[in-house]
C-alpha cells in the first residue's frame, strides 16, 4: 500500500495542488452537494432542460445525409454483395442452400467423420472423439441443419475477422499513430450497446447472414487486433536481427520472420475470434443470423426451456470443439518424417479424410430419391443408410420435453424456491433498492465530481479530465436517471463478481488441476447462451433488479476469475518461496506478496468485467429493466435511430471513463513494479 501512496503524491494538479488534494476537494464538493440536495434548485440537481441539445435530430439528419444523400449505403451494399456471395457459397457446401456452386446438401456423416479426422490429426483420439461426438449429437437430436446454418456464418465470419484483425493488428504494430487511433475506436465498438448495431447493420449490410457477419466481426475484431500487435511486439530482437542479417527485405521479414514467430499470440487471437463468434450466435439472430440462435429464441418465445437448453448445449459444444481445434493447432508444431517416408504416410490424414468422404457420399447416393421410411418398412439396412444420409425430424432423438419437465420441476421445488425467495427479498429490499434510490438521489454534479475524483485517483490528470468531460456529455444527453440505473447494475454486478470470483480464483490457483477445471468452466459459461438461464432466473427471482444483476454476474465473474488466476499464477515462484522462507502465513503471503504483484493483471480483469457488464446490462433488458436498455428498446419501435444513438453513446461514454482510468492505473502500477 505504501507504493500506492507514493505514486498518488506524484501527479500535480491544477494551481500546484497535489493530486490527493484535488481528489479530496472533489469528493468534499460531491458530499456537500449531496447533503444540500433538498435545498438545491432543480437546475443543479439534474441538467436543466435548456442545456440538452437536440442530438437526436442532428444524428438523424447526419445519418440520413451520409447514408442516402452521399450514398454511403451504396458502398456498404457493394461490400455486402461480395460478402453475400461467399456466405452463400459456404452455405451451399454445408447444407445445400440453393446458390452457387449448387451442390446437394452434404450428408452429416461426411462432415462428422472429416471433422473427427481433423480432430485426430491435431489432437489425438480424445479430440477426435469430442469433435466427432459433437457433430453426431447435433445430427441425432435433430439440429443438423440449424448447426450447419450457424456454422456457415461462423466459417465466414471467423476467418474474415481473423484476417482483417490480423491486418489491422500489423498496421497498428507498424505505426504508433494508427495504434493510437484504432484503440479507442475498438473500445467504442465493444461497448456500444448491441441495440445500436441492429438498425445500422440491417440498413447498411442487408438483414440476413451478411448483417450478422458484420455485427459478429465488430465484436470479434478487437481481441484479434490486440493479440496480433502484442505478438509482433514480443518477437525476440535476436530473431529479428537474425532475419535482417540474413538479408531479408521488409516483406520477407514480415512473412518469414515476424508472423511465424508471433504465431502463438496470433492464434490465441484466432481462438478469441471463434469464441466471440459463437457467443454472438443468439444475439445476431435478430438481424438475420440463421440457425441455432434463431431456433433458441423461438423455443424461448413459446417457453420450451428443455428445447432451448438442448440448443444451448449444441452451441457450447461447437464452441468447445472449435476452441480445442484451434488451440491444438497452436500447440501442434509441424512434425518431421524420416527420409523415405512414402507419400501416403506423410499425408495419412488427408488420405483417411478423402476415403471417408467417398464412402459416405457413396452411401448417400444409394438412398438419394428415397423417401424416409420407418424401419419396419425399409428394412434395417436401408433404414440405417438413410439415417447416415439424413436424420429426419421424426427420427431425431430430441429429449427437449424431458429436460423441460426436469427443469421446470426443479425450479418449483420448495427447497429451491424458498431459498431463492429469501435471497430475492433480502437482496432487493435491503441492498439493491436502497442503493438504487441513493444513487438517484445524488445530484448530477456530485456524481460527476465523484467519478472525476475516482478517475484522478486511479489514472491521474488525463483520465480525470476525460472522465469529467464524458460524464458531462452523458448528463446533457438527458437520460441521466436511466444512465445511473445502468451504472448501478454494472457496479453491483462487478462488485459481486469480485466478492465471489476472487476467492474462487485463489482457490483455483493452488493447483494446476483446479486451475484447468476453472478455466474450462469459465469458457463454458462464456459461450453458453445467456438467454437459456435468463428464464429460469426469472422464474426464481422474478422480474426484479436481482435477476438483472445475476444475469450480468455470470459474464463479469468470468474475466475476474480468469485474470485473477492468471495474475496469481504469474507471480514468480522465487518470490513466493522467499515469502515461505520468511515465515509468512498463507494469508500474509497472499496479501503481502501475491496480490500486490498480481494487481495489474487483476485490474485488467476488472476492466474486462466492466466492459462485459456494460454490454450485458443492455442485453438484460430481455428480462425487464428500467435503465438505458429499456429506453433503447423503446427506440426500436418506429426505428428512431438518432434517439437510439444518443442512448448508446451514453453507455459508451460511461464505459470509456472507467476503461481509461483503470488501464492508466494498471499501466502505472506495472511500471512501478518493473513488470512493463
Amino acid at each position: 500500500m505504501a507504493l500506492a501512496d507514493q505514486d498518488q503524491s506524484t501527479p500535480v494538479g491544477p494551481a500546484g495542488l497535489s493530486g490527493s488534494r484535488v481528489v479530496q476537494a472533489l469528493l468534499v464538493a460531491a458530499i456537500i452537494l449531496t447533503v444540500l440536495r433538498p435545498w438545491l434548485p432543480d437546475g443543479l440537481v439534474r441538467a436543466p432542460e435548456w442545456m440538452l441539445l437536440p442530438w437526436r435530430d442532428w444524428i438523424d439528419t447526419v445519418f440520413q445525409y451520409v447514408t442516402f444523400d452521399l450514398g454511403f449505403i451504396n458502398v456498404t451494399r457493394f461490400l455486402s454483395g461480395g460478402l453475400e456471395f461467399v456466405l452463400d457459397a459456404v452455405a451451399n457446401i454445408l447444407y445445400g442452400r440453393a446458390r452457387w456452386p449448387r451442390f446437394e446438401a452434404v450428408p452429416w456423416t461426411v462432415v462428422a467423420s472429416i471433422a473427427a479426422v481433423l480432430g485426430y490429426a491435431l489432437g489425438g483420439w480424445r479430440l477426435a472423439l469430442l469433435t466427432g461426438a459433437t457433430f453426431v449429437w447435433a445430427a441425432v437430436v435433430g439440429q443438423w441443419k440449424w448447426t450447419m446454418e450457424t456454422l456457415s456464418v461462423v466459417f465466414v465470419a471467423a476467418p474474415l475477422g481473423f484476417l482483417l484483425g490480423g491486418l489491422i493488428g500489423i498496421w497498428c504494430w507498424k505505426s504508433k499513430r494508427v495504434e493510437e487511433t484504432v484503440k479507442p475506436l475498438l473500445l467504442v465498438m465493444q461497448v456500444l450497446p448491441f441495440f445500436s448495431y441492429l438498425l445500422p447493420a440491417v440498413i447498411f449490410f442487408k438483414v440476413g447472414p451478411t448483417a450478422a457477419t458484420v455485427a459478429t466481426m465488430a465484436y470479434s475484431l478487437p481481441p484479434m487486433i490486440l493479440m496480433t500487435t502484442i505478438g509482433l511486439k514480443k518477437v525476440s530482437p535476436e530473431v529479428v536481427e537474425a532475419g535482417k542479417m540474413s538479408g531479408c527485405t521488409r516483406w520477407q521479414m514480415l512473412r518469414h520472420v515476424y508472423i511465424p514467430s508471433a504465431r502463438s499470440e496470433i492464434l490465441v487471437g484466432l481462438n478469441q475470434v471463434i469464441m466471440l463468434c459463437l457467443a454472438m450466435v443468439v444475439l445476431t439472430a435478430a438481424i438475420g443470423m440463421p440457425g441455432l440462435g434463431a431456433k433458441l429464441l423461438e423455443a424461448m418465445g413459446s417457453f420450451k426451456l428443455g428445447r432451448a437448453f438442448e440448443i444451448g448445449v449444441t452451441i457450447v459444444l461447437l464452441a468447445v470443439v472449435l476452441d480445442r481445434l484451434s488451440k491444438a493447432w497452436v500447440v501442434n508444431l509441424p512434425e518431421h518424417f524420416e527420409r523415405g517416408t512414402p507419400w501416403w504416410r506423410r499425408n495419412i490424414y488427408l488420405v483417411i479424410g478423402v476415403t471417408l468422404f467417398i464412402v459416405f457420399i457413396g452411401l448417400s447416393l444409394m438412398v438419394s430419391g428415397m423417401k424416409p421410411q420407418p424401419i419396419e418398412d425399409a428394412g434395417f439396412g436401408n433404414w440405417f443408410v438413410g439415417i447416415l444420409d439424413e436424420v429426419h425430424r421424426k427420427e431425431a432423438m430430441s429429449q427437449g420435453k424431458v429436460y423441460d419437465r426436469a427443469i421446470k420441476d426443479f425450479l418449483s421445488l420448495d427447497a429451491v424456491t424458498s431459498v431463492t425467495g429469501a435471497i430475492r427479498y433480502f437482496v432487493n429490499v435491503y441492498i439493491l433498492i436502497p442503493t438504487e434510490r441513493a444513487l438517484l438521489f445524488v445530484p448530477t454534479l456530485a456524481v460527476i465530481f465523484a467519478v472525476t475524483a475516482l478517475a484522478y485517483r486511479l489514472g491521474g490528470k488525463g483520465p480525470a479530465i476525460l472522465g469529467f468531460v464524458f460524464f458531462c456529455i452523458v448528463a446533457q444527453f438527458g437520460y441521466w436517471d436511466r444512465a445511473m440505473l445502468t451504472l448501478h447494475s454494472v457496479f453491483m454486478a462487478v462488485l459481486l463478481a469480485v466478492v465471489l470470483g476472487a476467492p474462487l480464483a485463489i482457490f483455483a490457483s493452488r493447483s494446476e488441476k483446479r486451475a484447468k477445471r476453472t478455466i474450462l468452466l469459465c469458457d463454458t459459461f462464456q459461450t453458453f447462451p445467456s438467454y437459456v438461464y435468463l428464464l429460469p432466473a426469472i422464474m426464481l427471482f422474478g422480474i426484479s433488479p436481482v435477476t438483472v444483476i445475476l444475469s450480468i454476474l455470470i459474464y463479469t465473474m468470468v474475466p475476474i476469475v480468469r485474470y485473477t488466476l492468471e495474475g496469481l499464477r504469474g507471480v514468480p515462484p522465487e518470490l513466493t518461496e522467499a515469502a515461505d522462507m520468511s515465515g509468512a502465513t498463507r494469508w500474509q503471503k497472499l496479501t503481502q506478496v501475491q496480490f500486490p504483484l498480481a494487481m495489474p493483471t487483476i485490474a485488467v480483469g476488472v476492466n474486462q468485467a466492466l466492459v462485459f457488464a456494460f454490454f450485458m446490462v443492455i442485453i438484460a433488458e430481455f428480462i425487464g429493466t428500467r435503465d438505458i436498455g429499456q429506453e433503447m428498446r423503446r427506440t426500436m419501435a418506429g426505428t428512431e435511430l438518432g434517439w437510439n444513438f444518443v442512448l448508446g453513446f451514453s453507455v459508451v461514454f460511461m464505459a470509456l471513463t472507467f476503461d481509461i482510468a483503470i488501464n492508466a492505473w494498471a499501466e502505472k502500477r506495472r511500471k512501478l513494479l518493473g513488470l512493463a
Binding site: 525476440s236 535476436e238 530473431v239 536481427e241 537474425a242 532475419g243 535482417k244 542479417m245 540474413s246 538479408g247 531479408c248 527485405t249 520477407q252 518469414h256 520472420v257 511465424p260 514467430s261 504465431r263 508444431l333 509441424p334 518431421h336 518424417f337 524420416e338 527420409r339
Partner: protein, 339 residues
Amino acid sequence: MSDAPVISAHNVWKLFGTDPEGYLAKMPQGRSYSDIQADGYIAGVKDVSVEVAKGEMLVIMGLSGSGKSTLVRCFSRLHEITGGTIEVDGQDIMALNEKQLIEMRRSKMGMVFQSFGLLPHRTVLENIAFPLEMRGQDKHDRRERALEVIKLVGLDGREDYFPRELSGGQQQRVGIARSLAIEPDIWFLDEPFSALDPLIRREMQDEFLRLQAMLNKTIVFITHDFDEALRLADRIAIMKDGAVEQCDTPDKIVLNPATPYVAKFTEEIDKARVVHAGTLARPDLAANGDPIPAGTTIHELARQLVDDDREALPVVSKDGVIIGGLDRRQALDILLGAA
C-alpha cells in the same frame, strides 16, 4: 594482415534519446558517460575508433551494458550510428540505401547470436538455408549448400529436426551454420557461447578455432568472459561505458593494462599462460644458443626457463628469423607471478 582494413570505424557515436543527432551536434567536448546521462541520453557507443584487418579476429570484451553489442550492431548497421563513420571494405555503410544494405548483408556478412535467434517454425535445414532462400537461390542449391555447412558444424543427420528438439550447443551450431551459409567474408559473433554450459562452451570454443583455422574469416567476436577473449583473440578491445578502454593484443593487455579498469581484469590472470615469447623478445637483446619459438607461451617454456642458465634466449619467428632475445629474468618474473 597488412592490406587495407576490412572494417574501419572512426569516432563512432551511438546515442539513445529523443534527439540524438541534435544533441551530439551541440554537445561540448569531453562530456563523460554520466554527464551525457544527466542530459537525458544514453551513450551506447562513445567516440570509438577501431579497425579490423582482413583475417583478423577482434574480440570486443566488456561487461553487460558496456556497449559491446551496440558497437557490433553498428558495424552491420543493425543500428544507425549517431556520429562518425564506419567503412566496410572501403565503403561507407551509412551511405548505402536499403537495397544496397540488404545486398551487403546477403553477400558479405554473417552473424551469430547469444540466444541463437533461430526461427522456431523451421527445421535445422530450413533455418540454415534461410539466408540463401532470402536472396532467392533455388531450392536445390540451397539444400546442397546447407547440407555442406551442416556437415561442417557436425550436425549431420539432424537436418529435419526443429530447434526445440536440439540441445543448446546444437542450436548454436545451427546458428553458426546459418551465419556461414552464404560464405561471408565478415563474421560477427555476439556472445555466441555465453548461454551454454561451461563444458560445452569449452568444446564450442575449440570447434570455433578449428573452423577459423580452416576458413580464415575476418571476425568480430563479442564476449564478457576475459578468459575466452584471451583464448581466441588476435586483438582485444576492452569496453566500458560505451568507450574502448584499451585495444591491443592479449599479451600486451596482460602485460601493460592501460587503465585501472583493465588492470582489474588482468590481475587474476595467470599471465604465463597468455604471454608469448615473441612478445617479450627485445631486438636489442643479443642471445646465443638454441632459439625458442616466438609462438610459445611462457608457461609452456617454464621448465626450460628454470633449467637454462643463459641471461637471454634467442626467439625465432615462424619463418625461422631471429627476432630478438628473451630476458630470462623477466620471463621468470611473469612465470612466478611477480610482474
